[in-house]
Symmetry: C2
Subunit: 221 residues, 2 copies
């Protein structure tokens, strides 16, 4: 046990150094980088499909699709006419700073304003690995349940914004937004919460507006 | 990158040796051990709540509830009157053989016929770590989508049975069982699939019956 944990600590220290370097490079080039996380099937790709049209009006957007295997999501995103790269994690359950940096290099940042990375579907390890992103956003889908901040503390603690997707099925799954926010606030006092549905697109505009605000803050800094 | 992968390979080799030892001990004591896996909120605890009454009629049952943090699930299971232990993974996204063995030791196997472990909610790493279980079952919930075998290949490949939960909302989420099974069969040619709903309990009995068959096969072997 102890050996595994020590290995992990060293890996994370190495990781954080690479992530800092990535963020410095991005700052210099004025490229905003967002890391999108959430469980399998929570709606990460669907949210990207819905917000990219808002972002494309203002910025040159690029997307990195991380997956253990397959390229189904990258194909979906490429159809929106944005620069897309598929990253295979080789069996790992998260993207680390090194894999992310190589993805950014492959993508090329010369004519890019905003990069979004869709992380591997997982509520545990992606929260531990700084990728160099300026903004960490997570999606929790209603069917997963309003108790998840109690069970996956680090994810809810480290993110800057929380999206609750599939809000159209709150009643079916007895998802109580008050109970959810009470649980969330034990982990994260500040992160704003956006309730939305990727199917009927209700709430998508509000999230896109706030994201654009964050991007503008970054560009003016 | 290469260094991390080498570390991982060594960790997995060590893990598999401990898992083999666990399985030998369980065989000797005639204790059947099932490892239950699936995404956050897919219905692992709800399935246990529904099948334990079937199992309790025939066997002395014990449950190990693994979580990154919290003990909400262990409390739910304890209310069913079965021996329960809560395992905290200390931030790790899966249960390894060593943590499992310590859980089994703490639980005590003298008067137990069947042990079920609810693994951490995650479709990636739990698939890589043999825990010593005789049967690996995974749950995929309908809202996660019928494309998941393409994205989380190892999990679908390594399990012995697949449960599709929340089947009452197939239409809402456009989940096509034919498409799902076509995707599943690219990873796993044999694992039987059980469609069920933990809410109205449809299909739960069929799964419990098959599980009892497996337990009986083990006890007669």
């Amino acid at each position: 046990m102890i050996r595994i944990l020590e290995t992990k600590e060293r890996v994370i220290a190495d990781n954080d150094a690479v992530a800092r370097k990535t963020r410095e490079d991005l700052n210099e080039k004025k490229v905003f980088f967002m890391n999108l996380m959430g469980s399998p099937g929570c709606g990460k790709t669907s949210l990207l499909v819905n917000i990219i049209p808002y972002l494309k009006k203002r910025y040159s957007v690029a997307v990195m699709e991380a997956d253990v295997d397959s390229d189904v999501d990258a194909k979906t995103i490429q159809d929106l006419g944005v620069k897309t790269v598929q990253l295979h994690s080789g069996g790992l359950c998260h993207m680390d700073a090194d894999m992310t940096a190589r993805g950014l290099e492959y993508l090329g940042l010369e004519d890019v304003d905003v990069v979004i990375m869709e992380n591997i579907g997982n509520l545990v390890c992606p929260a531990e690995f700084d990728t160099g992103a300026h903004l960490k956003v997570m999606i929790l889908s209603v069917p997963e349940g309003d108790d998840k901040p109690l069970k996956y503390p680090l994810m809810f603690q480290t993110v800057d914004m929380v999206v609750v997707s599939k809000k159209d099925v709150c009643e079916v799954f007895d998802f109580d937004s008050k109970r959810f926010e009470k649980n969330l606030r034990t982990r994260n006092p500040d992160a704003p919460v956006f309730y939305l549905s990727n199917t009927d697109k209700e709430g998508v505009g509000e999230f896109a507006d706030r994201l654009i605000e964050k991007i503008e803050e970054f560009r003016k800094s």
